[in-house]
């Protein structure tokens, strides 16, 4: 116990030098002073009890301890006031921290919006650059309108694009192949396969052949002359006089006039 008292005295002497070292927190100081108070009060009470019980004369030590006790108590009270002030400052700091948080969230919100704006602008700039590239590319590959018109004239000169405006039945100029031409081609030759030599329907109609009633079977020009169709040359020439017999003009009335290979001298057939 006397060692504790001595340490208190030593601390009291040291205290002015403590300011140069890193300051302890108020909490640490308060707890330290409280410990000192506890030790000093215990020491004093024990000393007084002992001196009374043993009827010994009091040395000056109890006065010394008492003085120390009073001094520590004063320090304790001062520190408690400081602690209360710090409590108020702490409240103010908490309010400021809330302000800081709010500002942080505002800044984050703005940052998000700026990011979005940057993205929109970057996309717009990219698209504009692509457009400029296309414009540049188009300029490099530019052709005179005269050439384009010439080319258009050339490909449409053979009526491969559109029949002439003054087209009439019998006019050989057309943008599609005639039945005769189709029959003379590969598809037409496919009709000569063994499985489909009966009534001259198209290969696709092979299954339907024999199932449809006669009334419903389409009347195509080649039906009654399927053999002669097979003998036709594979390439079509300009010999459009070679009309397939059995041409039925009646049924073609419902069809667009230009879709059949008709001639003005076609003979009707049943």
């Amino acid at each position: 116990d006397s060692a504790d008292v001595n340490s208190c005295l030593a601390q009291k002497r040291r205290e002015p030098n403590m300011a140069t070292v890193v300051e302890k927190s108020t909490k640490e100081r308060l707890l330290s002073v409280l410990d000192d108070l506890e030790v000093l009060s215990r020491e004093l009470i024990e000393m007084l009890a002992l001196s009374r019980s043993q009827k010994l004369p009091q040395t000056g030590e109890d006065t010394q301890i008492l003085e120390l006790l009073v001094q520590r108590d004063r320090v304790f009270q001062e520190l408690m006031e400081v602690a209360q002030q710090q409590g108020k400052v702490h409240q103010e700091m908490q309010l400021l921290e809330k302000e800081v948080e709010k500002r942080d969230s505002d800044i984050q919100q703005l940052q998000k919006q700026l990011k979005e704006a940057e993205h929109i602008l970057a996309t717009a700039v990219y698209q504009a650059k692509e457009k400029l590239k296309s414009i540049d590319k188009a300029r490099k590959g530019s052709i005179s309108s005269e050439e384009i018109i010439k080319y258009a004239h050339r490909i449409s000169a053979s009526n491969a694009v559109c029949a002439p405006l003054n087209w009439v039945p019998g006019d050989p100029r057309r943008p599609y192949p005639t039945d005769l031409e189709m029959r003379s081609g590969m598809l037409g030759h496919m009709a000569n396969l063994p499985t489909n030599g009966v009534n001259g329907h198209l290969p696709g109609d092979a299954l339907a052949a024999g199932r449809l009633p006669d009334v419903l079977t389409p009347h195509y020009p080649w039906q009654s002359s399927d053999v002669s169709v097979g003998l036709l040359p594979p390439h079509h020439g300009n010999d459009f006089g070679l009309e397939p017999p059995g041409h039925n003009k009646e049924n073609e009335d419902d069809v667009e006039a230009m879709s059949t290979d008709s001639s003005s001298s076609s003979s009707d057939s049943d």
């Binding site: 009470i45 602690a83 400052v89």
Partner: protein, 99 residues
């Protein structure tokens, strides 16, 4: 402040242990049986003071440190306000007002 000062003085007197020590010494002088009771009171008061100190807010730093922290926070708030003001005045887009 005049109204709060007496209250502050009362509070500082409340945390003083001297009255209790004085009571103990008086009891010892009278050879009263209340000595133990007073001793118990003193111990309880000390323990109570310890708990109170542990729960006190803002005492984890020294006053100068705390003042520094306060100044830092104030500076932060000021800087962030300035930043926000600058961005809001720069922004040409239709942004919703942040409350």
């Amino acid at each position: 402040m005049a109204v709060s000062q007496p209250r502050q003085e009362k509070e500082s007197e409340d945390c003083s242990l001297l009255p209790l020590v004085h009571d103990i010494i008086k009891c010892m002088d009278k050879d009263s049986q209340d000595v133990h009771q007073e001793l118990t009171k003193l111990k309880a008061k000390i323990q109570e003071a310890r708990e109170q100190i542990s729960n006190m807010p803002g005492v984890d730093s020294s006053p100068p440190e705390q003042q520094q922290q306060l100044a830092t926070l104030q500076e932060q708030v000021r800087t962030k306000n300035q930043l926000l003001q600058k961005y809001k005045s720069l922004c040409m887009f239709d942004v919703p007002k942040a409350s």
